[in-house]
Symmetry: C4
Subunit: 172 residues, 4 copies
């Protein structure tokens, strides 16, 4: 898991803690997002019996985008409610989501993982996430609060690991 940091303030009063609040909230959001990927990644690979070279690259592609989350987190943390950092955070989340769908596709493409193919056929949550992230990126240039609400909304949609896969794995 990528390391997301935030720095100790230079003073030691409650005002220092209050000033950290936006940074802290972005930190929580980023931690939850990375945790969601970690969880779903675990469930996805738990449902697969084999990987190949294409899967490894799809996996590294997803790790690349997730590796940018700490950068976005500190940029948004220091410049909350500003258009470009908010939009960029959305771009990285959108790219990570696209990469996860690609990873899923690379696994489904292997005939050894036929069981997985049946589980992920509709993927409404995946498609909805892409749409909401796209709207959040556009809205970053209008009102950043809307983007922030959308980021939280997508995180809430994904908070529960994919029940379809979990159920099959348990019954398999």
């Amino acid at each position: 898991m990528e390391k997301i940091q935030f720095k100790a303030p230079h003073t030691a009063d409650l005002a220092a803690l209050r000033a950290l609040a936006p940074t802290f909230l972005v930190y929580v959001l980023s931690f939850v997002n990375v945790a969601i990927y970690w969880n779903n990644h675990h469930h996805l690979f738990g449902a697969c019996s084999k990987i190949d070279g294409r899967v490894m690259w799809a996996n590294l592609h997803m790790l690349f985008w997730l590796s940018l989350v700490p950068f976005c987190t500190s940029w948004v943390g220091e410049h909350h409610l500003e258009a470009v950092p908010t939009a960029f955070y959305g771009v990285v989340l959108l790219a990570s989501a696209v990469a996860f769908i690609g990873l899923q596709a690379s696994l489904v493409a292997m005939k050894e993982n036929a069981a997985l193919a049946a589980m992920v056929d509709t993927d409404i949550k995946g498609k909805l996430s892409l749409a909401l992230y796209a709207i959040a990126i556009v809205m970053a240039f209008v009102n950043q609060w809307v983007s922030d609400v959308l980021f939280v909304a997508v995180a809430m949609i994904w908070f529960v690991p994919d029940r379809r896969i979990e159920k099959r794995v348990a019954s398999g």
Copy 2:
């Protein structure tokens, strides 16, 4: 394990090393605390035969609070014997302890881990830790030395991994 750091001083004499002493002691305390979680985590999962989605989230919840330990460590290290950083350190340790109890509960809730349920039924150390951390948080606004002594006391209580579990695992 989260990475707790402290920085090399800018001078090279014994005074520089003496000035680092409080930072170093907080570093040691944080290292021991994280090591305790690591150890108990190892013993807890060693006693379980299965995990589910709820366990994964309970685990990530605990990791979230532990991920704040480096932040607290550097804040307390730079502002030792000050109320807010000391109290905040206590809050993070309290939240980590609550999260560990939650993780334990999520494992016990699975019927596959019935053996574990018998081992952790009273959990006196867990309840005592919560009480001592709560007192430490309040005392941070009165006398930070009391808080510091309580932090060390809880660490000493937990220094030995849970014998109840270890014994059962060994005999199991």
Copy 3:
């Protein structure tokens, strides 16, 4: 995998993002290079049934050079199109490639890994990489663009994991 970082800019406009472009491109190149080593490392060890002390040291030797990639990345990122950082980046990539060939040789030297020996007998890609890196180092003092193109070229050559090994592993 070594952690390659780049820092959040101090402003929040598109100009800040544009100014980050060279740093970002070096980051991508370094990420891809480390990913290539990770992938090939995975395939190499997947084709081996045993390791010895010499293999462990050859592996740590490769990790040493890869551990310098973040240093080079931030140096080149801040001083792109300058001779010394570009040449140094080439030296680190060349040394990593030499170390990987050494690691391969240490594995092939074990009689338990006879199957691997047949797979890596010619190693045209390895030898070509060394030659291109050597040219890139020299060209860094003439025209850094040539070096950059060569770095990208070698990465593209290696982008696909070694098919010879993958094929044998799959059929084995």
Copy 4:
């Protein structure tokens, strides 16, 4: 493995690289030392069939001292040939070596690891290292070059993983 870093210089000429030379050499020495522990750790646990709570704490104790290596590395790197940082580096290496011997003892103390006990009975390299580190710490206040030579000498003694253990594991 703990992460030892050194920072990219602010200029881009050969003088910048020359100025980095002492930092780089300390980095290499620290990398080799940590690699030696990693290797020997691997061989030690490879020769053991079981661990207990005491082993886990002995292991974390060793990790604690190794976790201070990056701190020492950057301090010595910035203040080479000065008494206190050189002596402190020696103290951390000495404490790590003592902790490794303690870890070995905790493993040997378990009746399940009787085979290991026979392999580590004399441990001349371990005792010699402690003596040389102790001399290096004292010499840091007289002539730092002597300490540096001793640090390199101990690293060279350990460079090869413990043949006694490796041989037994291979034949076992």
